[in-house]
C-alpha cells in the first residue's frame, strides 16, 4: 500500500542546484550520486548530511569534444542548506582516482526553471 501524500504545509521545502561537472573520465548517474553523498558526508558528517535531503534529479552529458568529460546535473536539496551543499560539492576534487570539478552554476525553485535557465538557456 502506498503512503498518502503529505499536505503541502508538512512537506519539506526544496531547492534545485544546477551543477556543472568536469571530469577526467566518464561516469554514470549512480556514480555521481555516490560521489555527491561521499562529498557531503566527508565534509559535514552523517548528522549534517541528514538535513540536506539530497536527490539527483537529472544528468545531462555534453557531446562537444573537449579535453575533459563535461556534464550538467540538477540536484535537489532542502531549502536553507544550499550553501552547505554547494561548499561540500566544491571541495570534491577526486573520485575513483579521477579528477573531478563540480561547480554550482544555478539555484532554482523548480526543476523546470532550472532546465530552462541553466541547461537549455
Amino acid at each position: 500500500m502506498k503512503l498518502k501524500v503529505l499536505p503541502p504545509t508538512l512537506r519539506k521545502n526544496k531547492r534545485y542546484l544546477t551543477l556543472d561537472i568536469k571530469s577526467q573520465s566518464g561516469f554514470s548517474k549512480d556514480d555521481l550520486v555516490l560521489a555527491i553523498w561521499d562529498a557531503c558526508i566527508r565534509f559535514w558528517g552523517e548528522q549534517g548530511t541528514s538535513e540536506f535531503d539530497l536527490w539527483l534529479m537529472r544528468l545531462y552529458s555534453d557531446d562537444e569534444v573537449k579535453d575533459y568529460y563535461h556534464y550538467r546535473a540538477i540536484l535537489r536539496c532542502q531549502r536553507g542548506y544550499e550553501e552547505e551543499v554547494r561548499a561540500a560539492l566544491a571541495l570534491l576534487t577526486r573520485y575513483n582516482n579521477n579528477k573531478l570539478n563540480i561547480t554550482t552554476i544555478g539555484l532554482s525553485g523548480t526543476v523546470k526553471s532550472s532546465i530552462d535557465k541553466y541547461i537549455i538557456g
Binding site: D67, A87, L91, L100
Partner: protein
C-alpha cells in the same frame, strides 16, 4: 563589487587563456597570473597577445602578471624584491619557512606573504608576526588550493591553520587575501562556491568580501601610486599643485 583572484598559476599562453576564460565564466572580474622569477620575463612576451585574444573573445576580465618568490633564503628574498620592485607591480613571497615568513613581513616591498602555513604543523604566524604584518601593511594570503589538494586529516589541519590565522586577523587586523590558487580546469571555482566554502569554515561575509574585494583593490591602488611615493606615507601629487 569587483571580485579579485590574486593567485592563478601562470604557465603558458594557452593554459593562461583557458584559466582566464574559466575565471570570467565563473564570475571573477580580475585575475593575477603568478610566475616565478625565471618565467616572469618570458611570460611578458605573450602578455599583449593574451590581452588581444581576451578582447577578441569578448571577455569582461582584467588581468595582470605577478611575481612569486619561492626561496628558503631571506637574503635572496630581500635581493629579489629590491631588484624587481620598480619593474613589477605585484610581488608575493611564498611562505612556510619561519625565516621567510618573518623576512617577508618585515619587508614593506613585499605585497603578500603567500601560504605561511605551507607544510607546517602550525599556522606559521604568531602575535609578533601578526603585528609586523599590520605595521608593514603586508597581506597574508590563504589559498583554497591547499584545502582542495589535501584530504581527510590533512585537510582538517589546513582548515585548522586557516582558523588560527583568522583569529589573529580578528585581533591584529592585518590585511588578509583569499585566493583560489587555480592551475587548471579542475581547480577553478565560482565566486559563490568560494564564498560558501569560506563561510562554512567560519569566515564572516564581511571578512570574505574584504579578502576578495577590498584588500586586493587597496594593493592595486597602492602599487599604482608607488612610483610617486618619496618615502612611505609621502607622495608627489603633481606639478600643478
Amino acid at each position: 563589487m569587483k571580485y579579485y583572484d590574486f593567485n592563478l598559476k601562470g604557465s603558458n599562453f594557452q593554459n593562461d587563456l583557458n584559466l582566464l576564460t574559466d575565471a570570467n565564466n565563473l564570475g571573477w572580474n580580475y585575475s593575477k597570473l603568478m610566475y616565478n622569477p625565471k618565467d616572469y620575463f618570458n611570460a611578458l612576451d605573450y602578455k599583449d597577445e593574451l590581452m588581444v585574444e581576451i578582447d577578441n573573445l569578448g571577455l569582461d576580465i582584467d588581468f595582470d602578471f605577478g611575481l612569486e618568490i619561492i626561496t628558503n633564503n631571506p637574503e635572496e628574498l630581500r635581493k629579489l624584491t629590491r631588484k624587481n620592485r620598480n619593474k613589477i607591480n605585484y610581488i608575493s613571497a611564498f611562505g612556510g619557512n619561519l625565516k621567510i615568513n618573518r623576512s617577508a613581513l618585515e619587508n614593506r616591498q613585499v605585497d603578500v606573504l603567500s601560504r605561511p602555513y605551507f607544510k607546517r604543523h602550525d599556522s606559521g604566524l604568531n602575535h609578533v608576526l601578526a603585528k609586523l604584518a599590520y605595521d608593514n601593511d603586508v597581506a597574508i594570503e590563504l589559498s583554497l588550493k591547499d584545502i582542495l589538494t589535501n584530504h581527510l586529516s590533512y585537510r582538517a589541519k589546513v582548515i585548522s591553520h586557516f582558523k588560527d590565522i583568522l583569529l589573529l586577523h580578528r585581533k591584529f587586523e592585518f590585511p588578509l587575501v583569499l585566493t583560489t590558487g587555480s592551475s587548471g580546469v579542475y581547480d577553478t571555482k565560482s565566486c559563490r562556491d568560494f564564498f560558501a566554502i569560506f563561510k562554512s569554515i567560519g569566515f564572516s561575509e564581511a571578512e570574505i568580501v574584504n579578502g576578495v574585494c577590498n584588500v586586493p583593490e587597496h594593493i592595486i591602488d597602492f602599487n599604482n601610486s608607488r612610483k610617486d611615493m618619496v618615502v612611505y606615507g609621502v607622495r608627489k601629487l603633481g606639478d600643478d599643485l
